[in-house]
């Protein structure tokens, strides 16, 4: 927490710069070519996904790297483990820390988009949207914790991100509507937790729609990844 406060400013700048660049490049740059998607101006179409993506990426990064760093580099996990706190306290603490990073950075990007763009939404939609961001950040924080607990080489964490997470995120319809997929593929794509998080988030924020399939998918995924992260960390520490 302390460390978070200290690094706040420089981190925020770095975190906000990326989605904002994407927003400008795709949203503004392509505006002339893509006028509206599903009846929504393109910049508005991608904004919710960009916010969600920032949040879940931040959650994953924080969890994975912090766990890896404390376990492999500083070995502070061992210092924690010789005090009365338990292995569960440690792993849940790390998950929550990644989670709050995600939420926090998501909020920061939202604020920036809100201030600098004509993008507006209602409070009810925002509440629905929050549900998706919270669960999405939770899932990615747990995934990050799992990677950070099991992967010893840092380059492999980067590989998991590049080979698994980035494709999952891009496949889930951040930049294009799911209707662009061949009809046969759509049901499968809809099953991805990332689709649930990003497409669901967009439905919620833009239209105030709470898609039950997405919601259930996210709740189940979050529960499963959480239990898995705790279990894997516990096993890893018992070695």
């Amino acid at each position: 927490m302390l460390v978070l406060r200290r690094a706040l400013f420089s981190e925020l700048l770095a975190v906000i710069a990326y989605p904002l660049t994407l927003y400008l490049a795709f949203g503004v740059g392509l505006k002339g070519y893509i006028s509206a998607v599903e009846g929504v101006p393109y910049p508005v179409f991608i904004a919710p996904g960009l916010i969600s993506m920032t949040a879940v990426n931040a959650a994953f990064d924080e969890s994975a790297w912090s766990m890896w760093f404390h376990r492999r580099v500083q070995r502070t996990i061992e210092e924690y483990r010789v005090t009365p706190i338990t292995v569960y306290d440690i792993v849940i603490g790390k998950i929550l820390c990644g989670f709050s990073h995600g939420i926090f950075k998501g909020v920061a990007v939202t604020a920036v988009i809100f201030v600098f763009t004509p993008f507006r939404f209602s409070l009810l939609h925002l509440a629905f949207y929050l549900f998706y961001i919270i669960l999405g950040s939770m899932i990615f924080s747990c995934l990050g914790t799992i990677c950070g607990s099991t992967i010893d080489k840092p380059e492999n964490i980067g590989r998991v991100q590049a080979v698994v997470l980035v494709p999952l995120i891009f496949m889930s319809g951040i930049f294009f509507p799911l209707s662009s997929y061949p009809a046969a593929l759509v049901p499968f794509i809809k099953l991805l937790p990332t689709t649930a998080a990003f497409d669901g988030a967009r439905q919620a924020l833009l239209h105030g729609i709470m898609e039950p399939v997405y919601a259930v998918n996210l709740v189940v995924s979050a529960t499963v990844t959480f239990l898995l992260a705790v279990w894997i960390f516990d096993r890893k520490m018992a070695e």
Binding site: L2, V3, R6, H70, Q74, R75, T76, E78, E79, Y80, R81, V82, T83, P84, I85, T86, A238
Partner: protein, 307 residues
């Protein structure tokens, strides 16, 4: 009650037996020293006692509590200084101590005074708001020791506490450890014979996961009293005699340091034939050498370097 009990503890890593049916009891309020060459299994034993590693078989107790079944209670009672410093480099020196205190459930009123005291004691007060990666190795080590003491543990485990320290810091740490031993049991490992001799009430030398000898420093040296260590110093032409000495059947070991030879004879009676064989040499000095703890160590664990 014994502060530390190991009951036939083994730890196997694949094909390596790091600790092999090791048994030990350490009395309360004593300083116990565990010695052994690299890879002997010292760190593994400390990790088992501090609940970090599960023994493959056997039982380890700290203050009567099982390290596996009652790990949490054990951790409330112990302080640990690991072989490698594991400070949080994103927290200042003081924050490192505060975090430790909070993990032990201490309240600010309790820990702030204690931390001030410890920082004073370890000479780090002036640097308490700096980050540990700006510290020298010795300062980091002192900070790790201070951190292990924040919650006033009953048993303190120190894995090579003074490795990498200069003689002044080393002595400071020794004084500190000695002053603690009144109301704390101290379990330390070291490669420094001098350290073991100065500090420890009792010493165990181990190798290949097993205990080799057990006793006070003087008891251990006593065991070697039967060995006959001599020192010969030649005024000139020492090299010529190296061959001669090596060829003698009763010279068990021979070591050359400058112009001085250190040798071990099989028996006292060998002294006369030795003198005969080097008759006429320009001898500066010949003397009987008291065995040091290091001799005991080398004698027991061999002089070959481990991989």
């Amino acid at each position: 009650m014994a502060a530390v009990v190991l009951d036939s503890v083994s730890k196997v890593y694949g094909s390596i037996t790091a600790v092999d049916r090791f048994s030990l009891q350490v009395r309360q309020s004593t300083i116990f020293g565990l010695l052994g060459p690299n890879g002997a299994g010292k760190t593994t034993l400390i990790r088992i006692l501090t609940t970090l590693t599960r023994p493959t078989s056997g039982r380890a107790l700290v203050e009567g509590l099982d390290t596996q079944a009652e790990g949490r209670k054990v951790r409330e009672l112990i302080g640990v200084v690991p072989q490698e410093n594991n400070l949080d480099r994103y927290l200042t020196a003081r924050e490192n101590l505060v975090l430790h205190a909070r993990m032990h459930g201490m309240k600010p009123e309790e820990y702030n005074r204690r931390i001030d005291e410890l920082l004073e004691l370890t000479g780090l007060s002036g640097r308490q708001h700096d980050f540990p990666d700006t510290f020298s190795g010795g300062m980091q080590r002192r900070l790790v020791v201070a951190r292990a003491l924040v919650h006033t543990p009953r048993v303190l485990f120190l894995d090579e506490p003074t490795t990498g320290l200069d003689p002044q810091s080393r002595r400071a740490v020794w004084d500190h450890i000695r002053s603690l031993s009144r109301d704390m049991t101290i379990f330390l490992t070291t490669h420094y014979m001098e350290e073991a001799e100065m500090l420890c009430d009792r010493i165990v030398i181990m190798d290949h996961g097993r205990s080799l000898v057990d006793g006070t420093a003087s008891e251990l040296k006593e065991r070697l009293a039967h060995a006959h260590h001599y020192e010969l110093e030649f005024r000139s032409g020492g090299d010529r005699y190296e061959e001669v000495l090596r060829a003698l059947p009763f010279v068990k070991s021979l070591e050359k340091v400058g112009d001085t030879f250190r040798l071990t004879l099989t028996a006292e009676e060998d002294l006369k034939p030795l003198m005969d064989s080097i008759a006429g040499a320009d001898l500066r000095k010949i003397c009987l050498r008291e065995p040091s703890l290091e001799d005991v160590f080398i004698e027991l664990t061999g002089s070959k370097v481990r991989e």
